[in-house]
């Protein structure tokens, strides 16, 4: 019998689960021409869809812009706008609380420092808190979620109840208590926000694993002799990573907000290090008379958090992730 006469069957993967494989729907593939087709990976398809999402791209461009600014500001910001921290006491009274002008685009603060320069330097704190704290939460969350979902039973019960307990506490209060215990420092802000963020990531990852685990290719890999660790790392993780990417992206925005709140409350970064939260706290006294002191750091927080949320939303659509939990 001729072996090359397979009927073209639609290569549609209804069950690709969390990974949501974008397949060339509805295009039957005659086998003779299939080989000539360019190879499209699932990720490149997702990128194609993300690129068409305007809001997500605006978010992504804003994030890239901020990251570049934060990384390079030492090279140009002080030369242009002066030091973000140092106070020139001789000129302080003249420079204090100047409204926005060509020389000081965002005005100056009560101590005569350039607000734009401080907003620029504040992005370093915000981004590093957002990224590092999310990294800590994600690592813990992934391990916990994997243990709960893969081993189930008693592991699942213990880890998920622990997550419930964490989630039942008022989050910001919990962070403040933890910082009070650990001692106030920027490192401890990272650690506290990171430590307390894991339960939602664990939940998302757990439900993603549970849905991926149902797929036959996991059984098939086990039947090929793959170990548990190999199955989680090579088969389950890549297929649930989409939901983690989405969730972590949004989580960065959340962590930035928390850091701002902590600094505003005086529990975060210590002055004179510029942080958007501290700037708002400093500026609120002058809200009625010199609103720019509060406006610009406030705008920085809003736009950055929004950018992460928009990007996360766009990623979710592009990767077609169904987030059932959390």
């Amino acid at each position: 019998m001729d072996k090359n006469t397979d009927m073209p069957i639609y290569a549609v993967d209804e069950k690709s689960g969390a990974q949501g494989g974008p397949v060339n729907q509805g295009s039957p593939e005659p086998e003779t021409t299939a080989a000539a087709k360019p190879t499209r990976t699932l990720w490149s398809d997702a990128w194609g869809r993300l690129r068409k999402n305007k809001l997500a791209m605006i978010g992504a461009i804003w994030i890239i812009f901020i990251v570049i600014v934060a990384l390079t500001c030492d090279l140009w910001a002080p030369q242009w706008l002066g030091s973000p921290t140092q106070i020139d006491s001789s000129q302080m009274s003249e420079l204090s609380k100047l409204p926005p002008s060509a020389e000081h685009p965002f005005g100056t603060d009560a101590l005569g420092r350039d607000v734009l320069c401080r907003v620029i330097y504040g992005s370093r704190i915000s981004l590093s808190v957002g990224i590092l704290a999310t990294a800590i939460s994600t690592v813990i969350g992934l391990v916990m979620g994997a243990l709960a979902a893969y081993y189930g039973g008693i592991w699942d019960t213990i880890i998920m109840r622990l997550a419930d307990i964490f989630l039942a506490f008022p989050y910001t209060l919990f962070v403040i208590v933890l910082i009070a215990v650990l001692g106030q420092s920027i490192t401890n802000v990272f650690i506290a926000i990171g430590l307390l963020g894991w339960p939602s990531i664990a939940r998302v990852f757990r439900s993603a694993i549970l849905s991926v685990k149902e797929n036959d290719y996991v059984d098939a890999a086990r039947a090929m002799g793959a170990s548990d660790a190999r199955i989680v790392i090579r088969h389950i993780f890549p297929n649930s990573v989409a939901s983690i990417v989405v969730y972590a992206t949004m989580n960065i925005g959340g962590a930035i907000l928390t850091e701002s709140a902590l600094s505003y409350l005086g529990m975060g970064v210590t002055p004179p290090t510029p942080s958007w939260g501290i700037m708002i706290e400093d500026g609120q006294t002058y809200l009625a008379t010199q609103p720019w002191l509060m406006l610009f750091p406030g705008l920085a927080i809003i736009t950055t958090v929004l950018a992460f949320t928009l990007l996360g939303d766009g990623l979710r659509d592009a990767l077609d992730v169904k987030m059932k939990d959390a």
Partner: protein, 365 residues
């Protein structure tokens, strides 16, 4: 250590399943999914496992492979010996070495059995990298040979493709190539063709037979359709509600079945329709829930010949000297069998009995 290269000990078979019992302990009660399965298998042989949906065919195979999650599953008795060694006494690490290398499995649904994020080549090479320590390049090279072997055109190109670029029939070929990559002794195929259309079904079955001729491996072919295994199986086990109700050579099952459930299956093969110009006779009713198996014979509620004895007393296993066994109180009663067995099966036996014994299956061990 490669178990495949060890000789089968004197007096043992390649695979011996001995009164295997595996129950699920669920909140609704104990599900007796595998309840006393026994058979032997040697190299080069094909065993057909036939039964309705839910009769425990897949679970039996998964139990042999050690792929059942425990809990909720639990081995309640019996043994599985591969080359004389009990699989239940192996560590998880030893089982990992056996899976894919000595005993491999092809799953029911080719659409979901391949991981969407890896190329075909990478998945084909997985077993070789796990069991043979192949490098990436070696594995890819071998993957191309394997694709070629199972009849995928243009293997050098297709090896770089992702599963969604393959049709269902091609994916099932890939699954078979993957299972055969390490030359396993035993290939378990769990309804390998149910998700495919009829023409491709025939091709896939033919492919497996071809590979068997080349490699000499044993095949366990699971199906709910007695017709599918008619031409390929040497031995057939008919399962009902977690238990084998009849086991014998393919000829015994087709031409001399003794269990009323097997009769029902034989009567529902469409070919019988052509032969007999009679309507197909479906088996009436539904299989029992495995939590609440009837007290007597599990088939008695649906059996047209059931007596009070059937409803109250669990039948023993009646075995003939050829190893043909049945679990029916009346299967040793020639008069009962002669009167009720499907006429086509007996008539065929009479017509080509002599010819079949010679030209038919070589596997009557």
């Amino acid at each position: 250590m490669d178990l495949k290269n060890q000789p089968v000990p004197e007096g043992s078979h390649l695979l011996e399943v001995d009164d295997l019992k595996m129950y699920f302990h669920t909140q609704d009660g104990v599900v007796k999914a595998v309840d006393g399965v026994s058979y032997n298998l040697d190299r080069g042989e094909t065993l057909g496992v036939v039964g309705e949906s839910g009769s425990g065919k897949s679970v039996t195979a998964m139990t042999i492979m050690g792929l059942i999650d425990m809990p909720p599953g639990k081995i309640e008795g019996g043994d599985v010996r591969y080359r004389g060694l009990s699989l239940f006494e192996m560590t998880e690490k030893q089982m990992q070495d056996i899976r894919g290398n000595d005993i491999a499995m092809v799953f029911q649904d080719p659409m979901t059995s391949l991981n969407p994020v890896y190329t075909i080549g990478r998945q084909l090479g997985e077993g070789l990298r796990l069991h043979r320590g192949y490098s990436k390049e070696q594995a890819t090279k071998r993957a191309i040979e394997l694709l070629d072997m199972v009849g995928i055109p243009n293997p050098e190109q297709r090896v770089k493709d992702y599963p969604h670029q393959f049709s269902g029939g091609m994916r099932q070929r890939v699954m078979i190539a993957m299972a055969l990559a390490c030359d396993p002794d035993i290939l378990i195929a769990d309804e390998p063709t149910t998700a495919l259309d009829v023409t491709i079904q025939a091709q896939i079955i033919e492919l497996m037979q071809e590979m068997q001729e080349k490699n000499g491996n044993a095949i366990i072919m699971i199906t709910h359709d007695l017709g599918v295994v008619a031409d390929v199986a040497d031995k057939i086990m008919v399962m009902y509600a977690g238990r084998p109700v009849e086991f014998g050579t393919a000829d015994e099952i087709f031409y001399n079945p003794v269990h009323p459930y097997t009769w029902g299956l034989v009567r529902s093969i469409p070919e019988a329709l052509v032969d007999e110009k009679k309507p197909l006779t479906p088996i009436k009713g539904n299989p029992p829930s495995l939590v609440n198996v009837p007290k007597g014979c599990s088939f008695s509620p649906r059996c047209p010949y059931a007596t009070d004895r059937c409803r109250n007393e669990r039948p023993d296993t009646y075995t003939t000297e050829t190893g043909h066994y049945s679990r029916c109180h009346y299967s040793m009663d020639p008069e009962f069998v002669a009167k009720n067995a499907p006429t086509n099966s007996r008539r065929r036996a009479e017509e080509n009995g002599a010819a079949d014994a010679v030209a038919g299956k070589g596997g009557e061990a």
